[in-house]
Structure formats: structure tokens, C-alpha cells
């Protein structure tokens, strides 16, 4: 009996699936017929010339049809969401592995320059990843811990960079003095910008921070006398090894340590500087999480009204998160300025803010290891797909959408309590809230 029933059931499923797929293909056709089916290019007279790309259109519509068919069929078989398909034992094993993974990650990061000493390209990539990881750690304090969506984080990055450049060039102070100053100025900016706006609701706050980010960038772009406008500032002093310049001179780093001169020395030095800065950011974040301010940030993220009812000055709490996050962004910016030797407003667009936000979201808001892994994956991925530059951003945007739908807690989906009365426990992601949205996710 059952066996006879089965083939019939599957046939009906196939028709329903085909209908779904056909509908999807139809929608795809409507979406892509003009924008992909045709292409506009400047012709010989400058006016636009139309050309067709029906092959590509057909291919894409067919692909959508097949994917939709596949999805419909899979959905019919598996009613459970993807999360539950991962067995609990695996999840438990993964969370127990987390501390070892962290140690391995840090250990690997420490020896990267030794392994890849001859590969300048990879060393540079390492510096870029560490820089973005630090930006991610900084933004994590604001977005991940305190739950304040900041879409203009690049502004603090920019202020750190430009402050460093201007102070170093004008006053000739050393790297070790200018770096903290960059951070302090960024923090001050964070306080000034944050003070009037932090009482706004989440999405409004997000848009306002976007506005700030753009205003800062536009000012940097247009205030030519101060910032050099679109040409930026060049000739920023490069770092020295505590006074010893990285050149081939007799008082240089190489000569002092009896090594043959190599430009790689400076790169390795820069790598360890940014690694140290990133690790300091992580250490500070972990310490703060265990202090009242860190708990207040997380409580703020969970339920702001309850915080106020407990006597917490939520405006000050938010401001602190904002300022400290800004400060680390500023440090990263200062480092960026000295590493490149040249900065321009192009490096501080909304795209940068969105990238750092994506790293924090992907990494799991609040998780340090997640942010580091996300930075490595995203920037490594970017480099890997360098030839497909145009498609990178497309995939990146799609990834953001996919992550927030399917794995809103990011790659690392658990929260570790900051203090324990007894045993170690892990909080499943489903219970952690990001401000009242009704029922837990």
C-alpha cells in the first residue's frame, strides 16, 4: 500500500515544485530582461548604443529556474530549518573547541611573518586583515555589545588617520605620541557627535550616524587647505623602530642589529604593531565586559527601559560605548596613515563603514573570535577574488543579506556569560535579544 502511494505523492510534489520554479523564472525574466538582456555603452558619437545579451539572460533565467526547482524539492523533504539539521552534539563540540581555536588563531597570527617572510604580498594582506579586524573589534563594542547601530564608523577611522597625518607633519612628533592622539581625537569626535543623537531609536540612530560619516567625508574632501581635498595628504612619516629608522643608513634598524638591509623589516614591524593594537583592543573589550560598564552595555542591548528603571544613566552608557569604539577606530586610522604614507577621502567612504559592519554582523555581534575570523574570511576572500572585482561587492552584499536571514547571530552563535556563580554554561543564540522585538528570536 505505502509503496503504491509513494510514487503518486512524489509526482504531485514535482508539479508543485515546477510551478514554483516557473514562477521564479518568470520573475527573474522580468527583473533581468532589460538590465541584463540589453547593455548600454557609449557609441562613437558619445550617445548610447544598445547591444543585446540574450545569451546571458537565458542562462540566468535558466539558472534561477533550476535553483528554485531544487529549493522547492529540498523544502518538501526537509521541513526543519537548517539550524536544527546540525546535531546538538556537534554544536556542543564546537563550543568546547572555541578556546583552543582562539589560541591556535592567535598563535598562527604571531608567527605569520616568520612563515611568510619572503612573501611581501601575504604580509601586506596580513596587515590589512589585522587592521580590519581591529576596526571590527572597535565597532563590536558599539554594535555588538551595546546594540547601537553605527553606519558611519569610517568617520572615526578617518579622523584618526587625518589627525595622525596632520600632527605628525606639523609638529614632527613620533609615532608613539601621534597614535594615541589620533585615538583621543576620534573619541572626542565620538562624544561630540554622540551626545545629541544617542537618545534616538535604533534605526534613526543608524541613519544619523550614516549622515555623520558622509558629512565628515565631504568636509575632508572639500576643505582643501586643511586636508588637501581629493588629493589627500602624502608624505606622512613612516614609523621607526623606537627611534631607529628603517633604512639602509648606518644608524638604521638593519645596521644596528647587524642584518642586511631589507624593506621587509618595516613591513614585519608594522605587522606586529597592528597585531598588538588588535590584541590590546580585544583584551580591553574582554576586561570591560566583566566590569559594570560592559554589563550595562549588554543590558542596554537587551532592554533599555529595564536599564533605566534600575537607575542606569543610559545616555552616559551609550556615550561611553560610542566614544571607546570611536577611540579604537581612531587608533586603527592612525596606524593606517603611517603604514600607507598617504591618505585621501576615498579610503573612508560609506562602503568602508558597511564593510566593517558586515564583519561584525558576520562574526557574530559580541564575539571576538567571530570578528577576527570574519575579517580574515572577508578580506582574504576579497583578495582571492581580485580578478572578479566587480562581482566581489555583489557577493558581499548578498552574503550580508543571507547571514542576517539564516544566521543572524553570525558565525559564532553563542554568548558566554561574563561571570559565573558555579559551572560553565553557554547561552544558546535563540534566547539572546537585541532589544525588544516581541518574542525572542
Amino acid at each position: 500500500m505505502a509503496r503504491e502511494g509513494k510514487p503518486i505523492a512524489r509526482r504531485i510534489d514535482l508539479i508543485a515544485a515546477l510551478k514554483e520554479a516557473a514562477l521564479a523564472a518568470l520573475v527573474a525574466f522580468g527583473l533581468f530582461v532589460l538590465l541584463i538582456g540589453f547593455r548600454t555603452d557609449p557609441g562613437p558619437t558619445g550617445a548610447l548604443v544598445l547591444s543585446t545579451r540574450f545569451g546571458a539572460l537565458a542562462a540566468i533565467v535558466a539558472a534561477v529556474f533550476l535553483l528554485a526547482l531544487l529549493r522547492a524539492l529540498v523544502w518538501q523533504q526537509a521541513a526543519a530549518p537548517i539550524e536544527r539539521m546540525v546535531p546538538a552534539s556537534l554544536k556542543a563540540a564546537l563550543s568546547r573547541a572555541a578556546p583552543y581555536a582562539t589560541a591556535a588563531f592567535v598563535g598562527f597570527a604571531l608567527i605569520v611573518p616568520i612563515i611568510f617572510y619572503d612573501n611581501r604580498y601575504l604580509l601586506d594582506l596580513g596587515i590589512v586583515i589585522a587592521t580590519y579586524a581591529m576596526l571590527g573589534f572597535g565597532l563590536n563594542i558599539v554594535v555588538g555589545l551595546a546594540g547601537l547601530l553605527n553606519l558611519g564608523y569610517a568617520a572615526f577611522y578617518a579622523i584618526g588617520a587625518y589627525s595622525y597625518a596632520l600632527i605628525a607633519l606639523t609638529f614632527g612628533l613620533s609615532f608613539w605620541i601621534c597614535l594615541p592622539l589620533g585615538g583621543v581625537l576620534a573619541a572626542l569626535t565620538g562624544i561630540i557627535l554622540g551626545f545629541p543623537v544617542l537618545r534616538l531609536r535604533g534605526d534613526y540612530l543608524a541613519i544619523v550616524t550614516l549622515g555623520f560619516g558622509e558629512i565628515i567625508r565631504l568636509i575632508l574632501l572639500n576643505w582643501q587647505t586643511l586636508t588637501g581635498g581629493p588629493n589627500g595628504i602624502s608624505g606622512i612619516p613612516r614609523p621607526s623602530f623606537f627611534g631607529l629608522p628603517f633604512n639602509s643608513a648606518d644608524n638604521g634598524f638593519a645596521a644596528t642589529f647587524g642584518l642586511p638591509y631589507s624593506p621587509t623589516h618595516r613591513v614585519v614591524f608594522l605587522y606586529y604593531v597592528i597585531l598588538a593594537l588588535a590584541l590590546i583592543t580585544v583584551w580591553v573589550t574582554l576586561r570591560l565586559r566583566r566590569l559594570p560598564i560592559g554589563r550595562a552595555w549588554e543590558a542596554l542591548r537587551e532592554d533599555e527601559i529595564a536599564c533605566r528603571a534600575l537607575g542606569i544613566n543610559t545616555t552616559m552608557t551609550k556615550l561611553t560605548a560610542f566614544a571607546i569604539g570611536a577611540m579604537f577606530g581612531g587608533f586603527a586610522g592612525a596606524f593606517f596613515a603611517t603604514r600607507q604614507g598617504f591618505i585621501s577621502p576615498e579610503s573612508f567612504t560609506f562602503g568602508e563603514s558597511a564593510l566593517v559592519l558586515a564583519i561584525v554582523v558576520l562574526g557574530g555581534m559580541g564575539s571576538q573570535l567571530g570578528v577576527a575570523v570574519a575579517a580574515a574570511v572577508m578580506l582574504g576572500g576579497f583578495e582571492f577574488f581580485r580578478e572578479f572585482e566587480q562581482y566581489r561587492m555583489l557577493v558581499f552584499g548578498a552574503a550580508m543579506v543571507a547571514i542576517v536571514i539564516y544566521r543572524p547571530r553570525g558565525l559564532v552563535a553563542t554568548r558566554k556569560p561574563s561571570v559565573l556563580l558555579r559551572a560553565r554554561k553557554i547561552v544558546p543564540a535563540a534566547i539572546v535579544q537585541d532589544a525588544r522585538s516581541g518574542s525572542p528570536a
Partner: protein, 304 residues
Amino acid sequence: MEYFVQQLINGITLGSIYGLIAIGYTMVYGIIGMINFAHGDIFMVGAFTALIAFLILVAVGVTAVPLALFLVLLIAMALTALYGWTVERIAYRPLRHSFRLAPLISAIGMSIVLQNYVQVAQGARVKPLPPLVQGGYTLLEGHDFAVRLSNIQIIVVVTTLILMLGFSFMVARTRLGRNMRACEQDLKMAALVGVDVDRTISTTFVLGAALAAVAGLMFLLYYGVIDFFIGFLAGVKAFTAAVLGGIGSLPGAMIGGILIGLIETLWSAYFSIEYKDVAAFSILIIALIFLPTGIFGRPEVEKV
């Protein structure tokens, strides 16, 4: 004086375009409380769709401008509405019960997708179009400046007015409009009394996208050049307009649009054109801080 009047005309025209986009923001925010960050890029897609549709019509021999424009309007509205529907279905609907910032993050991702999709599909360079609607009227003759009201400006403002009136009628008198208003008030309750909430929300997105398409066509005709990045700036300014006019209010969106258009035009004319976007962003921030409910908005009391 004549210069000022010209700026007024220009500002109102620009403001009408912003107003059409702002309606999309305000309707979506009113009904599900989210800022559709990708809406500006829907406007951009509308402009591109209109451009390509027009080029196709010309290629197949439809040369009568009014007929071509009418067909382009229909095609652009239909296809862009499809984009609006698709974006809602795949990027926002799954997140309706997720944490509060989830739809915003998804919208940012969607905005990036749309911008880069158009960039990849059509190239990063600007797309010019020769002026289709020419001519106009000279209103005032001053000593060294003549105030001109061009035909395209008339078309923009009149189209906007007609659509506004049509829309207001729809919201106030039709069943769809009633459903939208019910969902705006209380989503759960509307569902309980039998309103198809999913359909109503989808329709809101679709209508907003259609209006954005009209704005895109108007933009294309008025400025004669588009690129994949126009959505970002226009989007932020239109959102500012929606906030200024009172988020959730239709006349507010229009009035806000006109205001922003006027401010931007007058600022560029009398102060500094480089900083005109700074002015727009600053107004946004000031409006959100000091006037969060806008001109026509209803003050929200937070339920504790």
C-alpha cells in the same frame, strides 16, 4: 529677484522628484516600521529601466516622444515594481520577527547588491540621454536674467501632483488603502480581523517602487544623465524629506520633498555647491534630533 524665482522653480521641480521617492520610504516605515535602505537604489533601477526601455523603443521605431514616454512610464513602473516586490520577499519578509536591526542590515546588503548589480550589468560609466522634452516658457525678463519654466519642469510637477492626488485617494477611499491604514495602526489586529497582511505589505512595497520608477524617469528626463550611484544620495535626501514631513504621512512626504528640493537648490545657488550634500545630511540630523515626528507626524508615546 529673477534669479531667486528661477531657483524656486528649480527647487520645486527637484523637490517633486524627491517627494515621489519619499512616499515609498514613508509608506513602508508607516506599515512595518522599517527604513527601506534599498529604496533609493530602487529609484536608480527605475531610472535605468526607463533608459533602456526608451532606447529599445527608439530602436524599434517608436519615435513619437509622447507615445514613447508613456510606454516607458508603464514599462518602468511595472518592472521596477517587480524589483520592489522581489526585494521585500527575499530580504525583508523572512526577518519580520527577527531582532529590530535585522531588516536594516538586510536592507543595507540589498542596497549594495542593487548598486553593484547595475554596475556590473551596465558598466560604471555615466549614461547620458539627449534631452527629449525641449522648450519652455520665459516667465519674467529681468535686467540680465530671464526666468524660464521648461516643459520638462511642468511635466515633472504635474505628474507628481496627479500621482499624489491619486495616491491620497487610494489610501483614503479604497479597500487597499484601508487595509494599509489598518496595518499601520496595529499589524496583529489587522491580521486578526482578516486583512491579508502579507499581501498588503507587498503591495505597499510595490506601489512605493512604482512611484520611485516615475521619479527615476523624471530624473532621467530632467538631468539627462544617470549612473549606478544616484540612488544613494537621492535616497538619503528623500528619506530626510520623509522625516521632515512626518514619517508615515503622505502629504508630509511631498511637502518634505519640496522643502528639501528648495533648500538644496537655494543653498547651491547662494552659498556653496560643493557642500550642498553636507547641507542635506545636516538637515537630516537636525530633523531627527529636534523634530523627529516631522511636520505632519503623529507623536509616538512609548508604551512601557
